[in-house]
């Protein structure tokens, strides 16, 4: 079943089907269904504790799911479906599949002991995809794309928050992922640094990579996203084009939330 879908699917189709996840008896995700088309830009909004980050982390299998499934181009990330059984994949295979999905964290998680350049070259070199020289060339190109070619030799601590997050984006791009996940990429930033990071994400949105962005920046979501998905209590309670969901929400919880955020 998986192979058939994988052959027909285009790059970067994410299908989330009836996903449940609990932590110590508390259900964080209670049956999420969501399909993200290749090249689509989806913004996930919702109050804290609504399961946004958890949902994002199930997509690249940083969290496993209790029920349901998450597939990227028809492929499960942590398992292989054969003859009606789920076979847990070896770590190497999980890692290989995971590289199709980049993630940008809220608090950057750059490697502090490596320079900006080394942060970007690390994964392609570690996976044996590129020689050191080729990785360096690629990384310099990516740093240039996020406007940081002059900071290549700097350590993360010598960079501002916005610059660090842009390095983190370049690092995620180095593996040429089909899907990039953003976990509140601007929440840890000073207000005046938010813009430079959003600019980079806006550029990515033009290029046809599937982007799933958990964010609190309602204005940005309206501008960049093809679709806004609103999560509450571990469920999708409303979704649609930003012009509808963000302007004339139907669900009272969404109306409430937007009233507070935009106030």
């Amino acid at each position: 079943m998986t192979t058939v879908i994988a052959e027909t699917a285009t790059r970067g189709l994410v299908e989330i089907h009836n996903v449940h996840k609990s932590y110590g008896g508390v259900e964080v995700l209670s049956g999420i269904d969501l399909a993200v088309q290749p090249g689509e830009v989806v913004a996930i909004l919702g109050p804290s504790g609504s399961g946004k980050s958890t949902l994002l982390r199930t997509i690249n299998h940083l969290e496993s799911v209790d029920r349901g499934s998450v597939t990227v181009d028809g492929q499960l990330i942590g398992y292989e479906l054969r003859g009606g059984k789920l076979y847990e994949l070896r770590e190497r295979e999980v890692l290989e599949r995971r590289t199709q999905i980049g993630i940008v964290f809220q608090n950057f998680n750059l490697f502090p002991h490596l320079t900006a350049l080394e942060n970007v070259t690390e994964a392609p070199v570690a996976l044996g995809r590129l020689s050191k020289d080729d990785a360096r060339e690629l990384a310099l190109g990516l740093l240039d794309r996020v406007g940081l070619s002059d900071k290549a030799e700097h350590y993360p601590r010598q960079l501002s928050g916005g610059q660090q997050q842009r390095v983190a984006i370049a690092r995620a791009l180095a593996l040429k992922p089909k899907v990039i996940l953003f976990d509140e990429p601007t929440s840890a930033l000073d207000p005046e640094l938010v813009g430079e990071v959003l600019d980079v994400i806006r550029d990515l949105a033009q290029l046809g990579t599937t982007l799933i962005i958990v964010t609190h920046e309602v204005g940005f979501a309206r501008e960049v996203a093809d679709r806004v998905v609103f999560l509450d209590g571990g469920r999708v309670i409303e979704q649609g084009p930003p012009a509808e969901v963000l302007v004339a929400p139907k669900h009272p919880r969404v109306q409430d939330f937007l009233a507070k955020v935009l106030a």
Partner: protein, 363 residues
């Protein structure tokens, strides 16, 4: 950034005439600073200096130190052999200890409950038994197991190879076994402590980037863990240098045993103990210097700019003195730590200004 760069000495004075000091727009960088006098600090300093001087004086004048005896034995053959053995025991036991310790730490952090509890038991046992007792037991293992070898499991009647234990475990082997297993137990906890101190997000980021587990450990987690491992590990190694002296119980002639043999013969206890003390001090000093540079290596990226090493500092100071002597127009290059792009110039502005001022005063 441009206005924080060190300026050429003459230029600054010319640009700001002395009268500028009285105006409301003062450029602090161009004025001499009169430092606060710390009277209390000075008086305590003088007391300490007096005590140290008194002690140093007694070292020279008190004949009971018998420095001639000290000098006679300091580089004598048995002492040097003892130092050699101490170093050998330290190096071998530390290497085996830290290697085993790393494995134990990883086992303690592994997901397998079996590995987990096995490692916990090992650490628990070897931290419980005093080192001296361990060494004596290893040395006398023959009483427990007269022969060691390979044969059918759980039987004692069929052997493929078999050796008498007494032959297999010499005094040296017993010392190495005791020291390194003991060391492994302690270093396991130090290494585990270092590994868990690294932010979980680092592991997550590495996993999300598809970096394979072994490289995740060696390239991402360990280098960051080393920051907290190195000081404790050096403590352990220094402890081991001196801990190795307990092997005198099985008559291994390391440095402490060597001086004991000599003073038991000639009764010059103090000068011979001093021989051992000075040797231990020398080894510890070397290790402390190594620690400084290893820590510095792993501090990459943790501070914006690494402070200069004592050597760099000394060179800079010498440069300043030289510039003062030679009445040179251009001061020495600003003191800059390694790994310091751009930002360093701003940070060391102070020192380059000092150089400038002293150069200017001479002119």
């Amino acid at each position: 950034m441009t206005d924080t760069l060190p300026r050429r000495p003459g230029a600054a004075e010319a640009a700001t005439p002395p009268s500028a000091a009285s105006s409301s727009r003062v450029d602090l960088g161009d004025l001499p600073v009169v430092h606060t006098k710390h009277w209390f600090r000075w008086s305590i300093g003088i007391v300490v200096l007096f005590v140290v001087a008194q002690f140093a004086w007694s070292l020279v004048t008190n004949e009971n130190y018998e420095w001639d005896v000290f000098a006679h034995y300091f580089l004598s053959e048995p002492v040097l052999q003892g130092v050699g053995l101490t170093l050998l025991l330290t190096v071998v036991a530390a290497s085996i200890g830290f290697f085993l310790g790393t494995l134990l730490a990883l086992a303690r952090l592994a997901k397998s409950p079996l590995l987990n509890s096995a490692a916990w038991l090992f650490i628990w046992f070897f931290r419980s038994v005093p080192l001296v007792v361990q060494i004596i037991v290893w040395y006398n293992l023959g009483y427990l197991y007269p022969t060691l070898g390979l044969g059918t499991p759980f039987t004692t009647d069929f052997w493929i190879v078999e050796f008498p234990t007494v032959q297999l475990i010499s005094a040296f082997a017993a010392a190495i076994l005791g020291l390194s297993l003991n060391q492994a137990a302690y270093s396991a906890e130090i290494i585990r402590g270092g590994l868990v101190s690294v932010d979980q997000g680092q592991l997550e980021a590495a996993a999300a980037l598809g970096i394979p587990p072994r490289r995740r450990l060696t390239r991402i987690i360990l280098p960051q863990a080393m920051r907290s491992i190195v000081p404790n590990a050096t403590n352990e190694v220094i402890g081991l240098v001196k801990g190795a002296s307990v092997v005198f119980v099985i008559a291994l002639p390391e440095v402490f045993y060597a001086v004991q043999v000599i003073y038991n013969r000639n009764s010059r206890v103090i000068p011979l103990l001093l021989v051992a003390v000075v040797w231990y001090t020398i080894i510890t000093t070397a290790l402390s210097i190594a620690q400084y540079y290893i820590e510095r290596h792993y501090a990459r990226g943790t501070v914006r700019v690494l402070p200069p090493t004592p050597l760099q500092r000394a060179r800079h100071w010498a440069g300043v003195q030289w510039a003062r002597l030679g009445d040179s127009e251009t001061g020495p290059a600003p003191l800059v730590g390694v790994d310091a792009p751009v930002v360093a110039k701003a940070t060391f502005q102070g020192s380059s200004n000092d150089a400038k001022n002293s150069g200017g005063a001479g002119a």
